[in-house]
Subunit: 308 residues, 2 copies
């Protein structure tokens, strides 16, 4: 046990229970010893209602934050100030500038900061990246639709300012996009549809460019009813590479090429252990940058109110 | 003349005539030889209606863009692809991601890219920066109010998506803020007031933090009638440093400490000449990053329509 990294988990909601807890348990080199959660507890662990009490009492070396992004900065800054390594659930914060500030804090303190993008760990993402490294890309289409009532029931914070709305799932597509394309992606235009009783969009179309060479179009829609569509199709001069099911399957010109089980969060924790071992950080704001630019550049229209 | 940098100016609107033309004329080492403007011409120079025709015909080594930010990327990318150094009026583009892409293009081509923030060249900015380098800052208040009808008459693009609205002047304050404060600034919340017939705010309040230590509040308002207020007040443990008139005057605890004439654009062109000579770029997106984050994080309310 002496070479095990002792970890605290902050936030004990759906994603913590379904993904973080089993993935930490399955990852070598890291052991969960404490929890901070306002309302929930986990048997057999040291439980706290806030992170500052936890940091004062527990000798954990690392902290994983899976609370909502609003308020994440203060928690991460506390952990960094206490000399702990920090892993952030996506999105890493409400804005891009706070992540740049966190990066500076982590650098100054000499601790690891890891902004995770779990969809980048999907089964076929690295395969797609390799295939596209030297490809001539003609255009990219992202089709990311799901039923918000099924996937985010009762999550108030997604509709509040800073909650991203339909970009909360959409940012998963953007995290894959920016991983698989060799050229830098930038936003050129966007159209946001915002329910009149909400601050964040329920649907959005975003037009982007890959390096000024290929057009990228994304359609995000939370009003979709039926099985989710999480597809990215990349047309190249030699054929079309399509990532389906959020990166679980790779199709070449309409034929299934490869697929694999989902180990996204196990890979994240393995990478966190690796980064801590190397004394490195991994901070990439680009997926959130594209969302911020879509909000900045985009036109808004009001649509009918949303009631959960 | 052999060591003079030949320059082309793209865009010949108000700011080009009032600032760029006289400043270029007063700057050693650079000579204006060509203009690209859709509608305007300048006697004694080679005039073109678009940048691509200019780049094909003229042997200018450098291009200065003072067109509206929408469409700026394509012009800058063309100039970079043609091996020319590029200087961008503020804001450097409609989104932050396109500036990161431009930076990559300029790096690959080995040319200088300079994202200018003219207000940073205001008389007392560097003095304030020195004074604040080791200060304990308690809080910062930005008060940036002007009459949009006086300062931006008939400028349609500022009200369209990507046009920034009241952040078009407000970004000047943010460019000074991020230059004078030693800690990284990030957005924590914002409230945007958007006329119901426009896409961009006519007024905004932005709450920020300097390094998680000091609160920064900004009030931007275009509905102000009367002489413009362009003030930044920094309270420290040893007194209050106030930059007034957009950085032309520095006041210490209510007493005028120093002031100077405005040479903002001359300094920008002198710096551009220097960067080209050194083979360096100067690309800082942070002022635009803070605006993007304010759009991302902020809540919006609809206010009465605006008619110019």
């Amino acid at each position: 046990m002496s070479d095990q990294i002792k970890l605290a988990l902050v936030g004990l909601g759906t994603i913590a229970r379904s993904q973080h807890l089993p993935s930490i348990a399955a990852t070598d080199g890291i052991t969960l010893t404490a929890i901070a959660s306002r309302n929930a507890q986990e048997a057999g662990l040291a439980n706290y209602t806030d992170i500052d009490a936890l940091l004062a009492a527990e000798d954990v070396q690392a902290v994983s934050l899976c609370t909502p992004p609003q308020g994440r900065f203060a928690q991460a800054a506390s952990a960094i100030a206490a000399g702990r390594h920090v892993m952030l659930e996506k999105p890493p914060g409400v804005g891009v500038s706070e992540i740049h500030a966190l990066r500076r804090l982590a650098q100054a303190k000499g601790v690891t900061l890891f902004t995770t993008w779990h969809s980048r760990e999907a089964a076929v993402v690295e395969t797609a990246r390799s295939m596209l490294a030297d490809a001539d890309i003609l255009r990219v289409d992202i089709d990311w639709r799901e039923d918000v009532r099924q996937w985010h029931p009762g999550q108030q914070w997604i509709w509040q300012a800073g909650g991203l709305g339909v970009f909360d799932p959409g940012i998963n597509a953007l995290s894959i996009l920016t991983r698989i394309l060799p050229d830098p992606v930038f936003v050129t235009d966007a159209q946001l549809e915002v329910p009149e009783n909400c601050q964040t969009p329920i649907a959005a179309a975003v037009q982007m460019s890959a390096g000024g060479k290929a057009q990228v179009s994304a359609a995000f829609d939370w009003r979709w009813q039926g099985p989710p569509q999480w597809d990215i199709a990349v047309q190249t001069t030699t054929g079309t590479i399509t990532l389906k099911k959020g990166g679980a399957e790779l199709w070449l010109d309409g034929v299934l090429h490869s697929s694999s089980e989902d180990h996204e969060y196990r890979r994240l924790y393995a990478r966190f252990v690796e980064l801590i071992g190397r004394g490195e950080s991994d901070v990439d704001v680009m997926p959130l940058q594209l969302v911020a630019d879509a909000f900045l550049v985009g036109s808004r229209s009001m649509v009918e109110p949303f009631h959960d």
